[in-house]
């Protein structure tokens, strides 16, 4: 419990900053919606001139792009990208923070098992992510309700927003497994930015071809906004694959962390 509280406190500042940044992005984007909706017809005509591959990559291909939900899915992919960086940072720093600050000796000579330490840290990161999502969703839905021109399904809006959370969990898990395997990460941010962007671009390329199998490579493509808007649910296979990846990564992290030698600095 003490480690959990300590970690939560350590993450407090960054959680607040990340939450506010995400909110700022969504507020800026959504405030453009009303003028955007007015000019919908003109936009449609311009977009038709774009090559299909580009439209796919940018996510402009949905018929419902001009509804508020369709419009929302555009900034959503950008917000997801930012949120993924936050989660990856959290995950990577769980173990490497202690290595970098050379505090691992302090923590690991205390009368706790490594499992207990890792669990407390993991929970603190998890709670930080949950808080970010709660605050974000409250702000995003508030803004959406302010700028809407027609009624929309709040459930679908929630489902869309919740994809941020799922993708964050995936990157949190990636972060942890990397941080326990790599002996010494010099810069947490470099590692997380690189990983997140690689997945993001891989995701963009898989979009241009429309190949279903390639979607499995990038977590950013596990949740298709158009599908969610149409069916008001997620694609089950991708949910399962995502959950399995998270569980495997976390389980492996526990195993590796327990066997790992903590070297002197």
């Amino acid at each position: 419990m003490n480690i959990f509280m300590h970690e939560l406190k350590a993450y407090r500042k960054s959680t607040i900053i990340w939450s506010l940044s995400l909110i700022a992005i969504i507020v800026i984007f959504m405030s453009m919606y009303s003028s955007f909706a007015e000019d919908a017809e003109d936009f449609k005509r311009i977009l038709e001139n774009y090559p299909e591959a580009l439209r796919n990559a940018l996510g402009f291909n949905q018929e419902n792009f001009f509804t508020i939900l369709g419009f929302y899915s555009f900034p959503l992919s950008f917000i997801t990208l930012c949120a993924a960086i936050q989660a990856m940072n959290l995950g990577t720093s769980i173990v490497s923070k202690e290595v970098l600050a050379k505090t691992a000796d302090f923590l690991l000579t205390k009368p706790f098992t490594r499992n207990k330490i890792l669990t407390a840290k993991l929970l603190a990161a998890f709670v930080s992510i949950v808080m970010t999502n709660v605050v974000y969703f409250a702000a995003a839905s508030f803004v959406a309700l302010q700028v809407k021109t027609d009624d929309f399904s709040l459930k679908i809006f929630f489902l869309l927003s919740l994809t941020i959370f799922f993708i964050q969990l995936l990157f949190l898990a990636f972060g942890i497994i990397i941080s326990v395997i790599v002996q010494r990460i010099k810069s947490v941010l470099t590692v997380s930015l690189a990983t997140v962007f690689v997945f993001y671009f891989v995701g963009m390329f898989s979009d241009t071809t429309g190949d279903e199998v390639k979607r499995y490579i990038s977590p950013f493509k596990y949740f298709d906004a158009a599908y969610i808007i149409k069916h008001s649910s997620y694609e089950a296979t991708f949910l399962i694959v995502g959950a399995v990846i998270i569980l495997l990564a976390i389980a492996a992290s526990y195993v590796v962390y327990n066997k790992k030698d903590i070297h002197a600095v």
């Binding site: 600050a101 050379k102 505090t103 000796d105 302090f106 690991l108 009368p111 706790f112 030698d261």
Partner: protein, 294 residues
């Protein structure tokens, strides 16, 4: 009763040497010295005892329990002070110590206050702003605040000024009197000599000898320096047990090992102006072990 029992402990890191086949025991209530130069394997041994690293083979028990399997339980009663201390920089000393205390299920607030007073440590400063010596003091308080039964110190005095070092040693002796066992690793022999009852000498990952400090000194030579009134025959002291005989005008010096009476008789027969007989200090014994092995 043995507080620490180390049996054939081996740790190899890839190609480079770690420790090999280390065995020794630390008895309850003693201050046990662990000496050797840098890189001899002192920290590796200690880090294995603390289950920070895992042995390649062999085992160790602390309080009779396997130090890996029962690590969390054992660590309740261990206080550890590493050679370099690092803490969360953005915390205040007080917060850090409170955090440290929260891992042990007892109230340590009074103890923290007392220790900080003895070590002259400002609890309200930020760790970031502390000098190396003051960080070390935080480490000392942190290592002792839960009144551990076993105190493990890994080259603890670096960064402490002589006055603080003195206070720290007094603190350790006091803890020892209250029943704490201490494992004291160092490459500075005078501090080991000052504190410890027994000592293990480690070299290149292997234990060379485990001895009482007093035995180490007894079994060793004595240093003689004699000033005579008149010049003596050069070979007057050339008897069994005498080494490194040097005659410089009226001053004769040599090392002697053996029955002290034989030398004393020889000295009694001559007219001397002055006489010095010295115990070799640990440094010399230590060098002796290292030279012999090399």
């Amino acid at each position: 009763m043995n507080v620490i029992e180390i049996k054939n402990l081996t740790k190899t890191y890839g190609k480079s040497r770690g420790i090999s086949d280390i065995s020794f025991n630390v008895e309850q209530g003693e201050i046990f010295g662990f000496i050797g130069p840098n890189g001899a394997g002192k920290s590796t041994t200690i880090r294995t005892l603390l289950s920070l690293i895992y042995p390649t083979s062999g085992s160790a028990t602390i309080f009779g329990k396997d130090c890996i399997r029962f690590a969390p339980e054992i660590k309740k009663e261990i206080g550890y002070l590493p050679s370099e201390v690092f803490y969360y920089d953005n915390m205040k000393v007080k917060e850090l110590l409170k955090y440290s205390a929260s891992f042990y299920k007892k109230d340590c607030s009074k103890r923290i206050k007392d220790l900080a007073e003895i070590m002259d440590l400002d609890l309200n400063k930020k760790i970031d702003d502390l000098s190396l010596g003051n960080k070390k003091k935080v480490g000392i308080v942190q290592g002792l605040l839960h009144e551990p039964k076993l105190i493990i110190l890994d080259e603890p005095t670096s960064g402490l000024d002589p006055l603080m070092q003195q206070k720290f040693f007094e603190l350790l002796e006091e803890e020892n009197k209250k029943g704490a066992t201490i494992l004291f690793s160092s490459h500075i022999l005078s501090e080991v000599q000052r504190l410890c009852n027994r000592v293990a000498i480690i070299k290149e990952g292997k234990i060379i000898t485990v001895e009482k400090i007093s035995t180490l000194q007894e079994n060793n030579y004595k240093k003689f320096k004699i000033e005579t009134k008149y010049a003596l025959d050069k070979d007057y002291f050339q008897i069994g047990g005498v080494n490194k005989l040097e005659v410089n005008n009226n001053v004769i010096s040599f090392l002697f090992r053996g029955n002290i009476n034989t030398v004393m008789k020889k000295i009694a027969e001559i007219d001397i102006a002055n006489l010095w007989i010295e115990e070799p200090d640990l440094e010399e014994i230590f060098m002796h072990y290292y030279e012999k092995e090399a």
